[in-house]
Symmetry: C2
Subunit: 359 residues, 2 copies
């Protein structure tokens, strides 16, 4: 074990290497998914709720699921008898309510709090980190960044994170609007800038063992997958949305970063440095062709009523997803996803090493 993996293992003793994390995707990363990922030897995060208040019921559900594990298993689960709740919780700082977050963390003591998208940069990250640590000293602070500027601010902060997540431009959902970069060049340059004693998890464009092994070679201690877990049995996602994740391919041209779908959904207020990656459908195609927003909005709201049929190439609903959608061909349970990726990482590392060591 490397010292950085040891650091992670001390905080999350149930985790198995290679270290796999499911991203705190807003609403879609519910407690069932998070618990399933942790149970599989990964670390599952519950995503931010529509309102901060919503996470209380998610954490309650996660807590109950953990308690009920003994009844459903012949062997005691590694997740039980943990002094903390073995799932993490994610926050979007610009929109989440700090006081509600603190009281909820204080009550449920999740093993990790993932902080992202502050409105006032490092100042907000410091405030949230300090308050969370005071309310729940065993809750580890994960901070997500995507630029060297953020890395440098982090170094100036008063609260050092326990884990840093570096998100590349391939990621789905919200990421850097204009100053993002693919993981291949971003991660090593970030690694050279970040403190060596803090584990770094890589996110963005990783959907199988190949990407995970690559990220570890680039310097990550573990990896985060988002979109791959949208196609997990346990994701809290509409079947139409999930079908589209499985169907879509060619992420280079079938996904884009745009604020259009936020506007159509009425999701406003994100700090301007962020915008989401989504699968392109008719809303975007007609937007590019110049159709007025009000018409698109009316059609979008009609599509909302259509439910699952509102997604797909002919659909109009927001389909936030990463550029690696072309690597996702089926819905699997979270445990299978975690194990398959872990096995493929080790297999891949071994094969590449063998093939290249023989002179």
């Amino acid at each position: 074990m490397s010292p950085l993996i040891t650091t992670i293992s001390r905080s999350y003793p149930w985790m198995k290497t290679p270290l796999i994390v499911s991203a705190p995707m807003r609403v879609t990363s519910g407690p069932t998914l998070a618990v399933a990922v942790s149970r599989a030897g990964g670390l599952g995060f519950i995503g931010p709720g529509v309102k901060t208040q919503d996470i209380s019921s998610d954490l309650q559900t996660a807590s109950s699921l953990i308690e009920s594990l003994s009844a459903s298993q012949s062997q005691p689960s590694a997740l039980q008898n943990q002094p903390i709740l073995p799932v993490g919780i994610g926050f979007q700082l610009w929109s989440d309510d700090l006081e509600v977050a603190i009281s909820t963390i204080s009550k449920y003591k999740p093993c990790a709090a993932w902080l992202f998208a502050p409105r006032h940069g490092q100042k907000d990250l410091d405030t949230w980190s300090r308050r969370i640590r005071h309310a729940s000293p065993s809750t580890r602070i994960w901070i997500q960044i995507g630029t060297l500027a953020e890395a440098r601010e982090l170094a100036q902060g008063s609260e050092e994170p326990d884990v840093i997540v570096v998100q590349g431009a391939e990621a789905g959902g919200h990421g850097r609007a204009n100053d993002g970069l693919g993981v291949m060049a971003l991660l090593p340059e970030m690694m050279d800038c970040l403190p060596a004693h803090i584990p770094v998890f890589a996110a963005g464009g990783i959907a199988d063992g190949r990407g995970a092994a690559a990220a570890l070679c680039l310097g990550a201690t573990g990896v985060v997958m988002g979109t791959r877990f949208l196609a997990a049995t346990e994701a809290r996602i509409s079947p139409g949305y999930q079908r589209e994740i499985v169907r879509a391919s060619n992420g280079a041209v079938s996904t884009t970063r745009t604020l259009l779908y936020n506007r159509l959904r009425g999701t406003v207020g994100w700090p301007e440095e962020y915008s989401p990656r989504t699968i392109i459908n008719k809303s975007f195609i007609e937007h590019q062709a110049g159709r007025p927003f009000e018409e698109l909005k009316a059609l979008h709201d009609e599509a909302l009523k259509a439910g699952d049929a509102g997604w797909g190439p002919e659909g109009r609903l927001a389909t936030y997803a990463g550029a690696a959608i072309g690597l996702i061909h089926d819905v699997k349970d979270a445990e299978t996803i975690v194990r398959d990726v872990q096995e493929e990482v080790l297999q891949r590392l071994s094969n590449v090493q063998k093939a290249n060591s023989a002179q």
Copy 2:
């Protein structure tokens, strides 16, 4: 050895694993660099000339350099006694002259011809491949692509390439203008689409052993580095340009894709699906601020006269470079670059495997 590495070794018996290639960068990849890379156990490519006619003297120089190796070495070089010239040559199909290319290849028999940027897609690639194979059967055909659409066209082509280069969006110089994607998500999706029996080399954002190891995990048989070799002792590059490659960092924000510098230099005619990545300097900053092109052009031409001082943050000259510039901190000779990357790849694979196998 994997079957794909064996395929490469048959064509290029002097190459050592991990397989490292220096990209055929226009003008800057001269014969001295190409021979030095091949001599180090990699495969060096000579870049396209300003005109196709220019490559004849480059290949002549490369040929002489190979012949003179015995005089300068105590042991015979693996590069000697090859039936072919152990360096490759690159072409930009839209601007290069096929007849001149064929007669030059026929005369010098370079071990590889790298075809890129056709004006008429697969049709041009097929024509060039067929003609080159007829003129020099031992010259292997390398074809560079960057999209799934190109991969599918390749599968429909009449001439199967010997090697495919998949270039990600992080790459310097010319790449996909609008439909590019970072290597992390692009390469595995491309690998799943390409024929399994053709070796794939990955390009874009790779500047050290971390990126090279990552690319191999993503499925590449070997890697191509461009920008890293701009900072090689043997590169045919102005000192001012080279200093800027070493100085610049934060590739996410200090590089961009823009046609501005092509226009300033008078480089016109590239098919519209391509545009180059460059380091941002005053030309681009003032262009974004709205300064008229004619003023920028006059200042650019002044800067041209200033020579090396025309590059740098206060400079105005084209500084084509990849997004991984932040990983390049020094000028090294090509042999050191190749060896350092190869050693780091093996070290990295071994360390990651060890750290993650221990449960």
